[in-house]
Symmetry: C2
Subunit: 351 residues, 2 copies
Amino acid sequence: MKKHNFYAGPAILPKSVMQEAAAACVDFNGSGLSVLEISHRSADFGAVMEEAEALVRELLGLGDEFAVLFLTGGASSQFFMSAMNLLASDAKAAFVNTGRWSDKAIVEAGQFGTVEVIASSEDKNYAYIPKDLAIPADATYLHITSNNTVTGTQYHSFPVTGKPLVADMSSDIFSRPLDMSRFGMIYAGAQKNLGPAGTTLVILRKDLLGKTERAIPTMLDYNTHIKKASMFNTPPAFPIYVAMLNMRWIKANGGVEAMAKRNAAKAALLYDAIEASPNFHCPIAKEDRSVMNAVFMPTDESRTAEFIEKAAEAGCIGVKGHRSVGGFRASMYNAMDIASVQALVDVMNAF
Amino acid sequence: MKKHNFYAGPAILPKSVMQEAAAACVDFNGSGLSVLEISHRSADFGAVMEEAEALVRELLGLGDEFAVLFLTGGASSQFFMSAMNLLASDAKAAFVNTGRWSDKAIVEAGQFGTVEVIASSEDKNYAYIPKDLAIPADATYLHITSNNTVTGTQYHSFPVTGKPLVADMSSDIFSRPLDMSRFGMIYAGAQKNLGPAGTTLVILRKDLLGKTERAIPTMLDYNTHIKKASMFNTPPAFPIYVAMLNMRWIKANGGVEAMAKRNAAKAALLYDAIEASPNFHCPIAKEDRSVMNAVFMPTDESRTAEFIEKAAEAGCIGVKGHRSVGGFRASMYNAMDIASVQALVDVMNAF
């Protein structure tokens, strides 16, 4: 039976990408060697790194003012590294708190400078995205979480401020076009729309560096990795290779504009089914619902486990809600076909 | 033609491990899903993490006093994390400088406490391991690099001190049995004897923590990862999975005792051939020559490129010396068969 993978992350990747990755584990580029055993300084792997960076630049339309880095440590490491590198001890960063992940980013940044939470949706269990923000004039940047995997909200337009946006886009990078003139930094753990777990993409406007005098360990300094094009030390070669394959797939399938259309169609199908059903409801403000992660609740809570079981019987796995929220969550990243969403909707309609 | 992979790292892994890894990229455990797309919180992946930790413990005979962590960022990140977590600002760590990697560890640790280099082989281009160390009574630990990939030296016995050893074993972990009562911490980037690039093994005596009051970002605090068994955030799932497969292979092939015998036989074959040849010589003190990475020089420097070409014609790749050393380097990690070393020796004898 076909499995429909609704996991929030690590998450679905295109079948063709998985097959290419498997082939390269045995013989990479006809070299007779596995991609897992070649030097990161070899010409074959150098080409992977170059293509990976070039694809990020092409898919998002990045100018030379941006550096593109493939690091490790997940978005969780960027929570502190972004502040450590961008925020002087006597300076201030503004944050919007839209739930679990922004909250962590706020805590970690607080070790390096002043942190001002200018808006929060905590008052309604993070079921909406705060708007009409007042950005302090002395803020160095505004940090947001563009898509919230746990609660199922997403910025569908980005706040207009005079400040560079620093955005955690772990769960919606490459899902849509971006106006990059608004962003100072974007970071994303790979394991949703970008690739398998094990690498973290950082896109950074280089002129934002050099504002702090603090001593930074070499591996935590963005300049280290910019100077060496993410090859200061051995990079996580295979995760980057698979991310590169996945970006090739995005490009071959029309780029981020096509992904945005594809994702909107899937989300519409699912949210319409939720609205139409007496058995389910979505607790999230309509205009802020995530295209990537739909969170929905059963009308009758006692039937939660039953629905998860019915879904699994139809091959729909990973639909259990986050432990802090309950209910259901269906993640529909780029690689998911609309047929998989239809399979879940069929289970809902039959329920 | 069979390729004999002498790369220093990322490096050779067993063929069977590569084939299992490839199969899991398409269908993991018969689940119908790739290992690249399953949740790190799934039962299937939880079993991988548990088996990986159990294999580390079994292969090295670790007691409960040790934590076993799978982190990211390479040994380069442990250079500063070890000091950040273990060394109080007013305390001292002793270091032996055996070349490039110890030197980096010394620099990074200096940001967090007093660093005293108690011995160095810099006077002879790092061609030996300093012995007869005098450890300052007030040192918290002694840091060493157990095997030096660049210069080709290795500790064949470990310094006896009253202090815990903190050892960078990136290039010889699991190559031999260890008397763990001597070690406070061992760290290793995976990409030599452990697995593919992308994860870093940390073995740590838990009682060494808690000696510093400094504020540590959550992701850099060993306690964070100990409490969550390396699953505080999404771990580098595939690199850990492949490392686990490789440790299964080590166990199935007799464990680290058998690896030590196998590695000694390969090294003897190659070093004997170097000694016997008028065309090559080894600049490293005999008793300190690395079993993992043999560094050797041509008698006639002008024939360096010619030898690398002849080796490549026989399928022996990755034998070019490190750029800072020149000459040749043959890395013979666990997974390399003695037949591959013989293939290189044949090229040397015919040269």
